[in-house]
Symmetry: C2
Subunit: 395 residues, 2 copies
């Protein structure tokens, strides 16, 4: 009666969302303060003051016309300001014409993939990765090709990457800082990736787009810098969201910015605008376009996240978990205490610990902790992690 593919996919539905919904059930049963929900990247923090002030400005002044349709690409002034903001971080000229406002990064990724993919073309991703990419690529007729990680540091295995490029490769998605590991790929590594791509583009006479999914770009620690993708890659398309940096996950606001170096960039921008419209987004939510424009450069308090990362990392490694110390995002990706990460995560439920199995990121044997949560929940969870570890060490 329904789409056979979708019904089949329901079983493969997101582990993250499944755990989030499990958490709601447990909260009802035991009380929210007894459940340690590390499942979803759903920032606990309220948006920064710039967002709150901007919202008040528009709502209190009852500014006229702000809830109407605008161009499918978004308000020209908003796009221009974002273009200039990105131009400062890179060394290329950008204008409003390089930017399309989107319904978050998930919306932006679908728009980009729709605009570039022909049937059966391939999109490479570096494991571990946000598995929703599989659905996004499939939505538009493409095939996902997964490159394995070096598990000592969770950087991509570059000889695997080189071998995975074919004449059908249309794009590489890079998520930096990475969800779920929190690892930030270095400029050196990215430049090496760019070299490989350029060599292969020449070999096959193709164009390979680098889609940079970077909603965690502002969330980095210890003085780490996230390299500018426009500076490193010729055919770079940035997809960004204010969900994490401004705590606006539920409002669905983000953008696509495409490099001026892309051949036929005007045609690409028309295609992006067209896909934004015909996929049913029509335009990014209007009020929040204006709000994020007023709040560019602002961000939630990174020190608060750093405090959480440090506390969890120290305690988990003390308890005996192996984990790469992340330089960005708000995730930890420790090794599970048994090979079967799904079983491990199920057994953690006994202690009201909600974790996401690494299998949900194309990387079995690990699990993800999302620490964008209240600090006291993290403090209270440590004894649960201790009990969980005891259970396995006792065996």
């Amino acid at each position: 009666m329904f789409s056979k593919k979708i019904i089949n996919n329901l079983d493969k539905a997101s582990w993250i969302r499944a755990m989030f919904e499990e958490g709601e059930k447990l909260s009802k049963k035991y009380g929210a303060d007894k459940v340690y929900d590390f499942s979803l990247g759903n920032p606990y923090a309220e948006p920064p003051v710039e967002v709150m002030e901007s919202l008040k400005k528009y709502i209190l002044n009852s500014e006229k016309g702000i809830h109407r349709y605008m161009n499918n690409a978004g308000y020209p002034k908003v796009r221009e300001k974002i273009a200039k903001f990105l131009q400062k971080q890179s060394n290329i000229e950008l204008s409003a014409n390089n930017v399309v406002m989107t319904v978050g990064a998930a919306g932006g990724l679908n728009v980009v993939l729709k605009a570039i993919l022909n049937n059966e073309e391939e999109v490479i991703v570096f494991a571990p990765y946000f598995v929703e990419y599989n659905f996004y690529v499939d939505n538009h007729g493409g095939r996902t090709v997964v490159v394995s990680p070096d598990k000592s540091n969770f950087e991509p295995n570059l000889s695997d990457f080189q071998n995975s490029i074919t004449k059908n490769t249309k794009a590489l998605i890079i998520n930096n800082p990475n969800n779920p590991t929190g690892v930030v790929y270095s400029e050196e590594k990215l430049k090496y990736i760019a070299e490989i791509i350029e060599k292969k583009e020449k070999e096959y006479g193709t164009t390979i787009f680098v889609i940079s999914d970077q909603p965690y770009g502002e969330i980095v620690y210890d003085g780490t810098k996230v390299p500018s993708m426009f500076s490193i890659f010729n055919n770079a398309i940035i997809v960004n969201s204010f969900s994490k940096s401004l705590g606006l996950a539920g409002e669905r606001i983000g953008y696509i910015a495409a490099s001026s170096k892309i051949k036929d960039i005007n045609l690409l921008m028309s295609a992006l605008s067209f896909c934004n419209r015909t996929l049913g987004f029509v335009n990014a939510p209007g009020l929040f376009q204006k709000v994020v424009c007023d709040s560019l450069g602002a961000k939630i308090d990174i020190e608060e996240y750093k405090k959480r990362r440090d506390f969890l990392y120290e305690n988990l490694t003390r308890i005996g978990f192996e984990c790469v110390k992340p330089q960005g995002a708000f995730y930890l990706f420790p090794k599970a205490l048994i090979d079967d990460d799904v079983e491990f995560v199920k057994r953690a439920l006994k202690y009201n610990l909600l974790l996401v199995p690494g299998s949900g990121f194309g990387c079995p044997g690990y699990f993800r902790i999302s620490y964008c949560v209240q600090f006291d929940m993290i403090e209270n969870s440590i004894s649960a992690f201790e009990k969980l570890a005891e259970e396995f060490n006792g065996n």
Copy 2:
């Protein structure tokens, strides 16, 4: 370099949007007050007081957590309130589980089509129709089948409809009140359509969904009633938006409500929620979910629209245009003064009149006027319509 299909489609891009963008150019050249832009269904009116008060409540109180992710289907309380609102209008039991909040009706339609369509399945539409439906159906592998209208009243030709149903028919989209004609299909007509569908479902052993796209459902005149689709059709899925009724077009907020009578309704609702997530909408914008919930039943001032309809209808028929008097929406769909509606609309540009050709709605020989605009613009436009008519009568 890009998607071949999308690049080809750019030429078939929306007439409505093309005219809207033409209007922005003319406005820059001649001044906005010299341009009569009847192109886009972009309500001029500010949202009603209920919306403004609700926005103020949330923003001034800085209510915590309202910008975070929620369930992909939307806030349960919002969905429950909408379900009960719809239950009152129909005679079937509905709950939050029947409702998914969406990024407007365009988003909702894509989600529904993704959830139900298998490759090459057919979706029937009644001309004249919103041609974006073609793209939405194609996005998810379906084929659009167009049923011709009875041009004397712009109701669907039902013998054509009956003949167009095959074993591959998966859905019928009904847009009531209709864009672009403003015609409201009567209960009698809809019941007859329901009979045809039930007969064909039996004949082929299939299920045919009736997707009711009804963003103009609240905008009706002269005591006209829009029949409840849940009462008439067994497999009804309502897709609605607050773009028109609450003047929130740019905020992208709407919903899907599926009938409890649908077999496997729970599976359908899971599929809808899944598609809402994986198409990249993730969830409908959070703040506006709460705002429309507070404003259910409120609407923009219909008398203002009626005044526009009456004034335009009277003047255009006086000038000599043939037109069915609409009972709903905020469009008029008069006959062009020559057969070639595209040429007609191009010649109207000379008088700074921005109209949309009927070809853009699968109905050549006519043109659409969107009158959700300032009244003085309508008044000032009449002399332009007179000059346009003279040009053709003079020939």
